[in-house]
């Protein structure tokens, strides 16, 4: 054998070895932050919960079109107004080999609803869970709840025996000062099993060959690589070290598109970006007497001062979707009429302001986060400039999210930015109850501006317990129409989702911005 031949043989052997390795499809995902831990009941971070959903599953789940479909439960029926009965799927095994049964559901639901559980807000109204037989569970509520299944998509199910064995039946109590077993270990029923984790470096899942469902994916292994720095994450994608990154920074979309073998996945998502309005008697701007924003006419004038198209085309690089209402089209409660974008007309706005008694305009404070939403601070700068054109002087503050939301909540500003994806509820009721209902108790938790309308409050309460889907949608649309007429909030746009992947990767981009790798293929 000549040296040349030897080299050739060696190369082909290597090529064969590589081809063999390529059969085992590893999905290398790069994200802008790590999981907070492995216990889906210990935090509300939506990325963490959605990734853990590969290991743990819930009674029901969303499909790629965000419709509810059965998962660990095969069906459900409303027994009476406050009880729903779930029939469980037979023959499911946890990753450690234990059988799945009603006991596990009861233990998990109680754990999630425990008074120390940070996610209990996600299943408000759940009073008790009872085992009927091995494969049937009754969930008791404090009233009729049309959104129960939506909530349950996020209540992931543990093995009760495993929890008991490791003293983890109660949720992790951060104040106990010790590490919960479930923070670093996982045992679910999902399509992938947990293999290893180094915080902030890598989390590895391997395929669960015994999964109950017909797998649509062809992956054998998932590697989650958190890369917080945008530039590094893009570089790692470009250098071929990753199969997909999420989110992919908007400003790098062209760079990625122009690279062979990879592309950007972009679509408007569920998150609606909007401005909250101070409606109290006093403006927070020291140069302003009273509060002009209390007048409906003033708020209506401001709508005409905003050029929605300019915001979309210049600030959002054409990737966002203008919103006339407070929810994205995928969310129940969305209404075509409400969604119509008012004409951009600064002259009309100025005239309306003059008619409302402010011919010289007025001053207001505006607050924005600078590290929470896509181009958040830039949007506010553009808004300030647009308002200035109609004589409204804006004192703009852009600061980090932890401070921004604190200020917004305390109503220390006149206009603040908020993004609302309605998750995990995925329903207009989320907006009605948190942002439009008069503040008090469980309601209006994100209505610091104090918008209040008796009819909206009445509709909100009715929507909460109406089980007839048709009627419910009509009531929601009606409430949103009132809020739109009175400009309770200033909606701007649905924020774009931006992922980037190798061309070989096939994955549905779901509007809730949660990559579902059990639907992904590498070809």
């Amino acid at each position: 054998m000549t040296p040349r031949n030897l080299l050739f043989t060696a190369t082909s052997a290597l090529a064969l070895a590589c081809a063999g390795a390529a059969q085992a499809e590893t999905f290398r995902l790069g994200t802008n932050g790590d999981l907070y831990g492995l216990d889906p009941h210990s935090m509300t971070d939506s990325f963490t919960v959605s990734f853990l959903n590969h290991v743990y599953e819930a009674l029901v789940r969303y499909d790629a079109d965000l419709k509810i479909e059965p998962a660990l439960a095969t069906g459900w029926e409303q027994i009476d107004e406050t009880t729903v009965r779930y029939t469980l799927r037979e023959g499911i095994k946890f990753h450690d080999g234990q059988d799945f049964s009603a006991e596990d559901v009861v233990a998990s639901v109680k754990r999630a609803a425990h008074e120390d559980s940070p996610i209990r807000g996600n299943i408000a109204g759940l009073v008790d869970a009872k085992m009927v037989d091995d494969m049937t569970v009754d969930l008791m509520l404090d009233g009729p709840n049309p959104l129960l299944n939506n909530f349950l998509t996020n209540v992931l199910i543990f093995d009760s025996g495993w929890l008991e064995e490791h003293d983890a039946l109660d949720p992790i109590d951060a104040q106990k000062g010790e590490e919960g077993y479930t923070t670093s270990n996982a045992n679910g029923t999902g399509p992938f099993r947990f293999e290893s984790r180094t915080p902030d470096a890598q989390t590895v899942l391997t395929v669960n060959g015994d999964w109950w469902d017909e797998p649509q994916h062809n992956l054998t292994r998932i590697e989650l690589n958190p890369i917080n720095s945008d530039a590094t994450r893009v570089a790692a994608m470009l250098s071929g070290e990753l199969d997909m990154i999420f989110p992919s920074p908007l400003q790098d979309a062209k760079r990625i598109e122009s690279t062979d073998g990879m592309h950007v996945l972009e679509a408007p998502g569920l998150r609606a970006i909007m401005m909250g309005i101070n409606m109290s008697d006093k403006s927070n701007n020291p140069n302003q007497e009273g509060n002009p924003l209390q007048k409906v006419e003033v708020r209506q004038a401001l709508v005409h001062a905003i050029s929605y198209d300019l915001l979309r085309d210049k600030i959002m690089r054409g990737k966002s979707r203008n919103l006339g209402g407070l929810v994205a089209p995928q969310v129940p409660g969305f209404d075509e009429g409400v969604d119509a974008i008012p004409a951009y007309d600064p002259d009309l706005a100025r005239k309306m302001l003059a008619d409302a008694g402010y011919p010289e305009g007025f001053s207001l404070n505006m607050n924005c986060p600078n590290d929470r939403y896509v181009n958040d601070a830039a949007i506010c700068q553009a808004l300030a400039a647009m308002f200035a054109r109609v004589g409204v002087k804006v004192d703009l503050t852009a600061e980090t999210k932890a401070i921004h939301f604190e200020r917004a909540r305390a109503n220390e500003t006149d206009m603040f930015m908020l993004g609302w994806a309605t998750l995990p509820m995925l329903d207009g009721y989320s907006v009605l109850s948190a942002m439009l209902h008069t503040p008090g108790g469980q309601m209006g938790t994100w209505n610091p501006g104090g918008y209040s309308n008796a009819e909206v409050d009445r509709l909100t309460k009715a929507v909460a317990t109406e089980l007839d889907a048709e009627k419910r949608l009509e009531m929601m649309a009606e409430a949103f129409r009132i809020a739109d007429e009175e400009v309770a909030w200033l909606p701007l746009h649905a924020q774009p989702l931006s992922w980037a992947a190798r061309d070989a990767v096939k994955i549905p981009q779901t509007a809730d911005d949660k990559p579902r790798l059990w639907l992904a293929r590498i070809e």
Binding site: Y36, E179, N228, A231, I403, T445
Partner: protein, 328 residues
């Protein structure tokens, strides 16, 4: 010597107390940890309960006191973000930072000193001039820019080295090391260069300046006049005296390397302590931030103490002062 150490320990305790108190005063401006811990639509009541449970309603002084008392017993509390004890987190991250700093420091010394000597001995050579220009760049270009450039060239264009992470590490039980695997070593190269670049150029310029200074002194001139060969003159007599100030500066910089590894760790997603700190800042994770700041101030004090001790060893004059003078 013993008195010196005792004094230093008291000093260290004071420095750490002051750092912790400054940290606690600053945390008030970082925002509300609650907003990261509860869902966006949590009720006012939920928030109030959580706040009470976590002791955030107590005055800052009380929170500070509690932190000091617990920390004195070795308990730095529980991270809000990771739900794990802070001491575990720091212990887990320390090896990554230590290895990075070790390699960067060695690199800076191993390249900086010879280059400094070379440029001092051949001040007019074109290579020296070139190195001077490059060193100016090394000092003035911000490190995150060099980091990104390194990634662009060696990861994206050439595809030789990984752009993020620590590669495969070997767990020794009490220490995780990247020194024992190929991917671990490859992953070290770019971050170590980024971290070392500034220090290297600093050392090079320092050695050069000191060496030029020493070469002008009388004893070198006399030695030259006596006919001592150049090689011996430069490396035995001149270099030794050059290195004393270099050692002091480097010792101080080493603390800086550990503290400022934050930027390198952020650019390269290096799972070290600095990165942990940055994430804690974003999350308003007060226990982690406080513990990290206290730990870094402790490391600074330890390194400074060691440098002072070494200085004593290296400079015979300092030792001589303490001994009774021999008859002349």
């Amino acid at each position: 010597m013993f008195a010196f150490l005792i004094r230093r320990i008291i000093q260290a305790a004071l420095v750490m107390l002051v750092v912790a108190s400054i940290a606690f005063l600053m945390f008030r401006f970082l925002g509300d940890p609650i907003s990261n811990l509860l869902p966006e639509d949590a009720t006012v009541q939920d928030r109030a309960e959580m706040r009470e449970k976590m002791g955030l309603n107590d005055p800052v002084v009380v929170q500070y006191g509690r932190f000091i008392v617990d920390a004195a017993q070795g308990d730095f509390g529980q991270s809000y973000r990771n739900n794990r004890p802070v001491s575990d987190l720091l212990a887990e991250r320390f090896p990554a930072t230590a290895e990075l700093v070790l390699v960067a420091a060695s690199l800076a010394l191993a390249l900086g000193i010879p280059l400094g000597i070379y440029t001092a001995l051949n001040p007019r050579g074109w290579l020296s001039q070139g190195l001077q220009v490059i060193s100016l760049l090394g000092i003035s270009v911000p490190t995150f820019v060099t980091g990104i450039l390194l990634i662009l060239v060696f990861s994206v264009s050439l595809g030789w080295l990984p752009s993020f992470g620590r590669g495969t590490v070997v767990d020794l039980g009490w220490w995780t090391t990247g020194f024992l695997t190929v991917s671990g070593l490859k992953a070290l190269i770019l971050p170590a260069i980024m971290l070392a670049l500034f220090q290297m150029t600093l050392i090079m310029r320092l050695v050069r300046a000191e060496m030029l200074e020493v070469l002008r002194t009388d004893y070198i001139k006399f030695a030259k006049a006596r006919g001592i060969p150049n090689r011996m003159l430069h490396f035995k007599y001149a270099l030794k005296n050059t290195l004393i100030p270099v050692m002091t500066i480097f010792g101080l910089q080493l603390g800086g390397l550990i503290a400022f590894a934050i930027i390198t760790e952020t650019v390269f997603q290096w799972p070290g302590m600095g990165f942990l700190f940055i994430q804690a800042v974003n999350f308003t994770d007060v226990p982690v931030m406080a513990a990290y700041l206290v730990l870094v101030s402790f490391i600074f004090v330890v390194i400074n103490t060691l440098v002072d001790l070494l200085y004593n060893v290296a400079d015979p004059r300092l030792r001589a002062e303490k001994k009774p003078a021999r008859g002349v």
